[in-house]
């Protein structure tokens, strides 16, 4: 009997990437492989909860709980105001510092990652990140890149710049943002190139922190929001998954004292997005007199809410795919995972972005008529309520999304991903 192929998945420490990779790992297991996870220490337990072996990247330093709380309070205080800014304004305040930190993370991860890869010697590596780790390329192992952000992550002259939120046909916006981006990230990019050189790799061109894999690149982007490219991606190396949703058990929905049996709206801006308690209080107040039910993911701050209306239910965690499959509208931040899950289950999105590729998806949701977008801040209450009602009662939109959902589910992106990854290990792809 042949040995099961060992696949090492290395997602970045964000829930989107982590849980996409769980879906792929579930499919790999069904196809007879042995998926394992390499992860940052902060994500310890996420993958073992799903039954997968974890290997942790030692960070070389750890904080006490009190120090961690203090760090997070400072982080929130520093960045909450930045989430009110435009994508271009965020370049210097949020995006560049984030790239700086990402470069630091890559630096710290390099040696532990080398050691793990040397001892594991997997048949293939799956990297779901936005930055390159030389240990992967230098290992000589076949590796796949998962593009779990918006499709803008893979540049093309016909596609708006990554993180810009520019409309597809607004070339002036593209040029303006691209120039500002190059300037803003020049310093972390230079540091990154020195890091690459120190590990025997060539410099990357300006603005690039991760190359496409010469073996396989998996793009989560659903077909319904796919971009038209000037230079089409080679289908041998670039596989579109048309969504990538993990398997979960059905969720029990809570009861509501008011509006029971009315349309259900799920609201989640991710854990970071949930840190703005005042925004959530404003949203909940706006929801309170609407004829719908709302499930609101308030992240770690559940205890900060004391007077929740009878048609709203708050919690720190929801089994998202299962909840989305049962709701009539999904209000989210434009995270690619959330957008993909909404489409996978035929649910319209109302995107209220605040950072990163959420801006790109907020623009795309309108261009593809798969939902609508509103600014995260400054919305008049009436406009928010009208938008929510309009999306819930748009029968034509629902029919179109339901047709698309059937196609996505039939395509089975996680299985397609697993099959493509396993093809790296049997010599059928080189």
């Amino acid at each position: 009997m042949s040995r099961a192929k060992l696949i090492a998945l290395f997602p970045e420490a964000s829930f989107g990437a982590a849980l996409n990779c769980v879906g792929i790992a579930q499919a790999l297991e069904r196809q007879g492989a042995r998926p394992v996870f390499i992860c940052h220490e902060g994500f310890k337990g996420v993958f073992s909860d799903y039954g997968f072996q974890e290997y942790h990247l030692a960070s070389g330093g750890s904080l006490t709980d009190a120090e961690r709380d203090e760090f997070w309070q400072a982080f929130i205080a520093r960045h909450l105001p930045h989430f009110r800014l435009s994508p271009k304004e965020q370049l210097s305040t949020y995006v560049a510092p984030t790239w700086d930190a990402i470069v630091d993370t890559a630096n710290r991860a390099e040696r532990p990652l080398q050691r793990i890869l040397d001892s594991l010697r997997p048949d293939a590596v799956v990297l779901d990140n936005v930055v390159m780790f030389p240990a992967i390329r230098n290992s000589g192992l076949p590796w796949a890149r998962v593009v779990s952000c918006a499709e803008t992550e893979i540049p093309d002259p016909a596609v708006p710049p990554y993180l810009s939120g520019c409309p597809t046909d607004d070339e002036a916006c593209h040029r303006d943002f691209a120039a500002a981006y190059a300037q803003a990230v020049a310093s972390p990019h230079e540091r990154f190139n020195r890091f690459l050189a120190a590990h025997g790799m060539s410099r990357y061109p300006p603005g690039q922190f991760l190359e496409t894999s010469p073996w396989l690149n998996l793009l989560l982007s659903p077909d319904i929001v796919r971009r038209r490219r000037k230079y089409p991606l080679e289908p041998e190396r670039f596989v579109f998954l048309n969504g990538c949703v993990r398997e979960e058990a059905p969720s029990l929905l809570p009861g509501f004292p008011r509006n029971e049996d009315s349309p259900l709206v799920y609201v989640s801006f991710g854990s970071l997005g949930a840190m703005d308690v005042q925004l959530f209080r404003d949203l909940i107040a706006a929801f309170s007199d609407m004829p719908y039910r709302f499930l609101v993911n308030v992240g770690a701050n559940r205890d900060a809410y004391e007077t929740v209306p009878d048609n709203v239910y708050i919690d720190s965690w929801f089994v998202q795919p299962s909840v989305v499959s049962q709701c009539d509208l999904f209000i989210h931040h434009g995270g690619n995972n959330s957008f993909g899950e909404a489409l996978y289950y035929g649910v319209p999105s109302l995107i209220m972005p605040y950072c990163w590729d959420g801006h790109d998806n907020a623009c795309r949701v309108g261009e593809t008529a798969t939902g609508r977008a509103l600014p995260r801040y400054g919305w008049p209450r009436a406009a928010l309520q009208e938008t929510i009602g309009g999306l819930i009662h748009d029968a034509a939109l629902r029919r179109r999304l339901a047709d698309n959902a059937r196609a996505m589910q039939a395509f089975n992106g996680t299985a397609v991903a697993a099959k493509a990854i396993l093809s790296l290990t049997d010599g059928s792809r080189s």
């Binding site: 970045e12 420490a13 964000s14 829930f15 940052h40 220490e41 902060g42 994500f43 337990g45 996420v46 909860d49 799903y50 039954g51 960070s59 070389g60 330093g61 904080l63 120090e67 961690r68 760090f71 997070w72 982080f75 984030t98 790239w99 700086d100 930190a101 990402i102 630091d104 993370t105 710290r108 398997e247 979960e248 058990a249 059905p250 969720s251 029990l252 929905l253 809570p254 009861g255 004292p257 991710g270 854990s271 970071l272 992240g299 770690a300 559940r302 205890d303 809410y305 004391e306 007077t307 929740v308 209306p309 009878d310 239910y313 708050i314 919690d315 720190s316 965690w317 929801f318 089994v319």
Partner: protein, 315 residues
């Protein structure tokens, strides 16, 4: 994830459904008025544990379909072929409805920490006597306590991540101790029917997994351990805590993998209890509670960008 009241409603719906299944069962078995209804026989036939069977029989007794006599159990009070269907609209006692609603609404943060009788009367359109009875009952369960000025205050309940973590640590001390204490009383039929429920759960496909049944079986196992304990103090405190868990509801639904693993762990514990290997059962219970306690609540604190987390950890 589900709120306690919603779970209460679902539990009642399950009991109504089970009561109807019992009626169908006795009719198929050609039972007649006066026939004895053995809980274990029904539990085996319906592939559920005895706790919901008891509740369903109680429902049938309330509707005059069965008659209960202490020491004898339930007998059919009517000919099942002529019995009407189970009336699912049978009202619960108002105090019971309000009791569940208050706990549910506090867990969902719809009620603030401080209560007054008049505020509860207004919110629930309930008479003063009903509200007072419910507050008394909540106080007996140590869920509220009196405060100055005609007010009541909620005591800490199992409705936050910290409280749930504390609950696991508490159970980790006491549930293995309950199993290891000499004289543990094994309720064989109850464990056998629970085994049947757990095995049926493991046979369910992912998309049709009955999460409600999982929570019911979880309660059933831990309640069996509490009730089997020969040390009355450990047993009583665990029974009280299990009731608190049931009323408060679990704030977090485990993922599919964990649901199945927990079900297997429950089966492993039952195997050891049935085999009389109580120390091994206690060890398996420790492992089970440790794994269960490591679930999701902590995840609410994750999810910030990796980069910033990296800075925080590496500082």
């Amino acid at each position: 994830m589900t709120s306690p009241a919603n779970r209460g409603q679902r539990t009642r719906a399950h009991h109504v459904e089970l009561a109807q299944r019992i009626l169908d069962l006795v009719s198929e078995a050609r039972m007649k008025k006066g026939s004895r209804l053995a809980e274990q026989w029904i539990a085996t036939q319906c592939r559920v544990s005895r706790t919901p069977v008891r509740a369903a029989l109680q429902l049938l007794a309330q509707q005059g379909v069965t008659e209960y006599r202490p020491g004898e159990g339930h007998r059919l009070a009517v000919d099942p072929r002529t019995a009407p269907g189970v009336d699912s609209r049978l009202p619960e006692p108002p105090e019971e409805i309000l009791f569940g609603a208050v706990i549910r609404d506090r867990a969902a943060r719809r009620l603030s920490k401080t209560l007054t009788v008049s505020a509860l009367m207004r919110r629930y359109r309930a008479p003063r006597t009903t509200v007072q009875k419910v507050l008394q009952s909540l106080a007996e369960h140590q869920l509220v306590e009196r405060a100055p000025g005609q007010r009541w205050v909620f005591r800490p309940n199992l409705d936050s991540a910290d409280a749930v973590a504390e609950s696991y640590r508490y159970r980790l001390l006491l549930e293995p101790a309950a199993l290891e204490h000499p004289g543990f009383s094994v309720d064989g039929p109850r464990l056998a029917s629970l085994r049947a429920t757990l095995e049926s759960l493991l046979g369910m496909p992912a998309d049709r997994l009955d999460v409600h049944l999982f929570f019911e079986s979880d309660h059933e196992l831990h309640d069996t351990v509490a009730r089997g304990c020969a040390n009355r103090f450990i047993g009583d405190t665990l029974i009280h805590h299990q009731r608190l868990r049931r009323l408060s509801g679990s704030p977090v639904q485990p993922n599919l993998h964990r649901l199945r693993e927990a079900t297997r762990e429950h089966l492993g514990i039952i195997n050891q209890i049935e085999g009389g290997r109580m120390e091994v059962a206690a060890d398996l219970m420790r492992i089970h509670l440790r794994l269960a306690g490591e679930q999701r609540p902590k995840m609410a604190h994750w999810g910030a960008p990796a980069a910033f987390r990296g800075i925080g950890d590496g500082r």
